[in-house]
Amino acid sequence: MFRTQGHLVDLVPPPGFRIRTYSEALRTMSSAPGTASFEQLALPLLPSLYSHAFWLSRDHAEAEDLVQETVSKSLRAFDSFQADTNFKAWIFRILRNTFLTSRTGIAAARTVFLEDHPDLLSTADASPTPEDILIRLDNQAAVNQALDQLQPLLREVLLLCDVEELKYKDIALVLDIPIGTVMSRISRARRALYQLLQPQIGESL
């Protein structure tokens, strides 16, 4: 299966194809003045906001409160929203800031920023072989467990990238970090996930 390399290349999604559909939809809405009300933009994002809020807070009631507060804050600030920016990134940034000022968020903010402590990463540098990982990736339970165990800061960037399908520049806006840090954080997050998946491979062999 791995020998047909031409086929492998075909499996890779064309660059930006899912992301583009979303931003195009937003642009279409934003390009017609008056048609893209706050409600029209925010309503389709409620499930995403909720799910992301849950991952931040790990609590359903708190997730709902966070989204409520995010919606009311962003509604008040909607006048300052510029139509050519990504609404999703904008409202996710507000969600994140709302979380960071919540009680759970303040506790979470004490998490050590890995970028500031590269020495902490030295143990995470041994790369597992992709062949091994492929065996485990169809085991959703193993992936669920790995994602649960992933360091919150790393998980957050992966959720924005893989689930919310935000562009790196939009993730940089949400997290308020330079785009280079987004890239390195994504690399770290995926490597850490590989690592978390690895011990289970040993069990299965």
């Binding site: 706050f38 029209q40 309503l43 991952w55 992709p130 959703q140 669920n144 790196y168 890239m183």
Partner: protein, 255 residues
């Protein structure tokens, strides 16, 4: 394996699978991948990890109740800001659409197995009806005979369409159980293909997504009304099946 070219560095690989590269950069990488087995394997593995992450993260979906509360928060402001009933209505419809999408996605991953079991059960029942081993309890093409027969036998009621789509005939009905729930089984034919339609009560039990929509060559399509879930199984052309489903859904609305 013994490519002299440099292997992709992790940042580049991630940017590639995340669609962050220009088309020329992507093209260059694709050419490298065609020749470099280890890198192709890395890309495949990373692409699958990305997909698995997305699947895994979507476990914690908003409940329909919570979504309704959140959507309601948007509504009064809409009225205040634009005071247009039209917008209000479109928001309401969007909320309904979102909750439907959500109801389906909520159960998505967790209940795949259950859904498979349900579609297998549907197919079994349809095949049993096809074999004609047990003829249906009501053998009638008259909706005025079929509908009253069900009355008092089921904990819900339903309507049959006044007019069926072209070349679609009601053949009869029967009582059955589906996923542990009492169900009405209606038998139709569309262009001589037999169709089994199952009607169950929507409330009470968790909705199970039907997946796959095609099983062993039979299409399994479903639709929801306010109170009912309607599932149709047949080997007929799926658009014809959808026409029948639409007629049945239409018949449930009071207009």
């Amino acid at each position: 394996m013994t490519q002299p070219t440099r292997h992709l560095d992790p940042d580049m690989l991630n940017a590639f699978i995340d669609g962050e590269l220009s088309s020329s950069e992507s093209h260059e990488i694709q050419q490298h991948l065609a020749d470099c087995h280890p890198c192709a394997l890395h890309v495949l593995s990373a692409t699958q990890l990305k997909a698995a992450t997305a699947r895994s993260a979507q476990r914690f979906a908003v409940t329909p109740d919570a979504l309704a509360r959140l959507a309601a928060q948007l509504r009064p402001q809409e009225l205040k800001k634009t005071a247009r009933i039209y917008s209000f209505r479109s928001i309401t419809w969007a909320a309904v659409a979102v909750s439907l999408v959500l109801a389906v996605s909520l159960i998505g991953l967790r209940q795949t197995r259950q859904a498979n079991a349900l579609s297998a059960e549907l197919l079994d029942q349809h095949l049993a009806a096809l074999s004609g081993g047990a003829s249906p309890e009501v053998l009638s093409t008259d909706r005025h005979t079929v509908k009253p027969w069900f009355q008092g036998k089921l904990p819900f009621s339903f309507n049959l369409p006044d007019v069926l789509p072209a070349d679609t005939t009601l053949k009869g009905g029967d009582l059955t159980y589906l996923n542990g729930q009492p169900a009405a089984l209606l038998l139709f034919t569309i262009h001589k293909h037999k169709v089994s339609v199952f009607l169950t009560q929507r409330s009470g039990t968790a909705l199970v997504t039907l997946w796959p929509r095609i099983r062993s060559g039979f299409a399994i399509h479903d639709a929801m009304t306010h109170d009912l879930r309607i599932v149709a199984v047949s080997d007929v052309n799926p658009p014809d099946l959808d026409l029948l489903l639409a007629a049945l859904v239409q018949a449930q609305s009071p207009h």
